[in-house]
Symmetry: C2
Subunit: 338 residues, 2 copies
């Protein structure tokens, strides 16, 4: 009989937690048991899971007893506090937060890119930030053959990346403006409806946002390219789901758009949508709810001899978060590491 | 007594034409007479202008008799057909279309950048595409002191750049999606509400869109930098007014963000909004209806020794179109060229 696993999900009532519960079912993850853990505010709630309902239990330091895998979909500071307890209890933690990603002994993994790194885990495996994943997925297959030396990325990020309250805020702001007024805002420093906010996260060195710093540092770590030159501008846009990015990448050697299309069309987890004359290119509204990272608008960077410009879109809740976390668990199983 | 001018506006019932009529009033342009010209569909309509109403006349080859200045806010092909007749009638044509911009004997002018080029006109003066203007306004003041060698720009362009029908389509699409359905679309190849469309204009060589090609060629012409290396990705976003761009520019020599801020803070027509920790940076919703080009998020491009990253926003109907056209007329007057 195939092995099955005792799984816990923290933050199960959040926007990524809900997505994870759905994907656990649709991908038929071999569950022996499923425990949902959350803050006192959510503990006691009953969450549908397939035919059953599961009561949310209180997240505590001894809630991980008997767990094989813990998926963390909680804020950074909660992960920082509770993950060590989960590891101590013998579980492998798959963490979607920013708490552990840059720790040297924590693998930061996109299975299609650096699945091999999983083997080096010490109990915690991190999944990248939702803006990093589509960019790395689009560049890695080419980078393996012709190393990227530098890239810049301008992102177009949906409100679901912030969480459920931000989704409600875009809804409410939109209605307010359509009614001829202006909305209130608390999830964002300004109204997001029919607007653009070039501020994601907190402010770090040299006036880069934390989201921009994540994109730089995580890409380098995942691609094993500590010297890779990167700059990003991360912008919140009024879309609900899926993050997009316009990317300019400079490779070590000349490469044609056709070669890039050919490489990406054979890359796992990537779908090339690149027939602009037929209006085919990745779009957030159509990518939402699907698994792949889409890449299109692949063309020569007319400003650099070895440059390629492209446009990539991926569902930030799926491949950008919950799906990637689950794929890490599947990879652990496939590699007999659990 | 100050001189005054016989002015005609073609396309007066369109979105840019309306903006122009408003700016003619608010800037107290020295009008002797104002003639509004449009297609048979709009001819006969009465348009309010200050205290009066002006009846729209039919655009024809002999409608320009006695005109000193003709502002064209019509589609490219209409400008191509009628502008020579206006010039023949002795008028100076200030043209917001793409019909003449790249003609060698047509100055393409942003007054704050290359106002001197106006003197070389042969009857037609072109105003740049609305996506080009904010990028050039942000780079030119620095370029004069430390030439830009290369830049890439990812744009975030509002639907009003397409015209009135697109504004209605974003409105209608938004309502349809908020009602739980999907909208129809004809102004765009896909739904624009809560979505992103990386297609603006038609497709040109090497899979660049016409909008992207304009940004490249027009920037080079306006900045007198035919060798400048440029690549752009132009994206339509669900905002109503104002175009934004994330720009990475490589200068000939190292330059600090503080130096750039200092230069731009003294540049005419540019307003620096750059205090990210106080949530101050340019935003489309707040820039709409105002004249300046706003620049913020000015920081070191961490991927290039001489690089600067920045974020710029400008009202595409004003500085991106109508205001710039009117400023060209004001420049003609100030330079005694009319």
């Amino acid at each position: 009989m195939a092995k099955s696993y005792n799984v816990a999900v923290t933050g199960a009532t959040g926007i990524v937690g809900k997505e994870l519960l759905q994907i656990l079912q649709t991908r038929h993850f071999p569950l022996r048991s499923l425990k949902l853990l959350a803050s006192p505010r959510s503990a006691g709630k009953r969450i549908p899971f397939g035919e059953q309902e599961i009561e949310v239990e209180l997240l505590s330091h001894d809630a991980f007893e008997g767990c094989d895998i813990v998926f963390n979909a909680v804020p950074d500071e909660i992960s920082r506090e509770y993950s060590p307890s989960a590891v101590k209890a013998g579980a492998i933690v798959i963490d979607k937060t920013n708490a552990w990603r840059m720790e040297p002994d924590v693998p930061l993994v996109i299975p299609e890119v650096n699945g091999d790194d999983i083997a080096g885990h010490k109990g915690i495996i991190a999944t990248p930030n939702c803006a990093t994943t589509p960019v790395v997925m689009a560049l890695w297959p080419v980078h393996r053959l012709n190393p990227v030396k530098r890239f810049v990325a301008a992102t177009y990020q949906s409100v679901s990346g912030t969480g459920g309250a931000a989704v409600d805020e875009l809804e409410a702001n939109t209605r307010a403006i359509q009614a001829g007024g202006r909305g209130t805002h608390s999830a964002y420093p300004h109204e997001i409806a029919f607007n653009l906010i070039p501020e994601i996260g907190s402010w770090k060195d040299e006036d880069y946002s934390s989201e921009e710093v994540k994109l730089v540092n995580e890409s380098r770590k995942i691609m094993h390219a500590p010297e890779l030159a990167i700059s990003a501008t991360c912008v919140r846009v009024p879309t609900f789901v899926s993050h997009a990015a316009a990317v300019w990448a400079e490779f070590s050697n000349p490469i044609t758009p056709d070669e890039v299309r050919d490489i990406l069309s054979r890359a796992p987890g990537v779908v090339v949508q690149d027939d602009p004359r037929a209006h085919v290119y990745p779009r957030p509204l159509e990518a939402a709810g699907t698994d792949p990272v889409y890449v299109g608008r692949i063309r020569r960077d007319t400003s650099h001899p070895n440059g390629i410009a492209l446009w990539t879109v991926g569902d930030n809740l799926r491949k950008g978060a919950a799906l990637n976390a689950l794929q890490i668990a599947e990879e652990l199983i496939a590699r007999h590491l659990i």
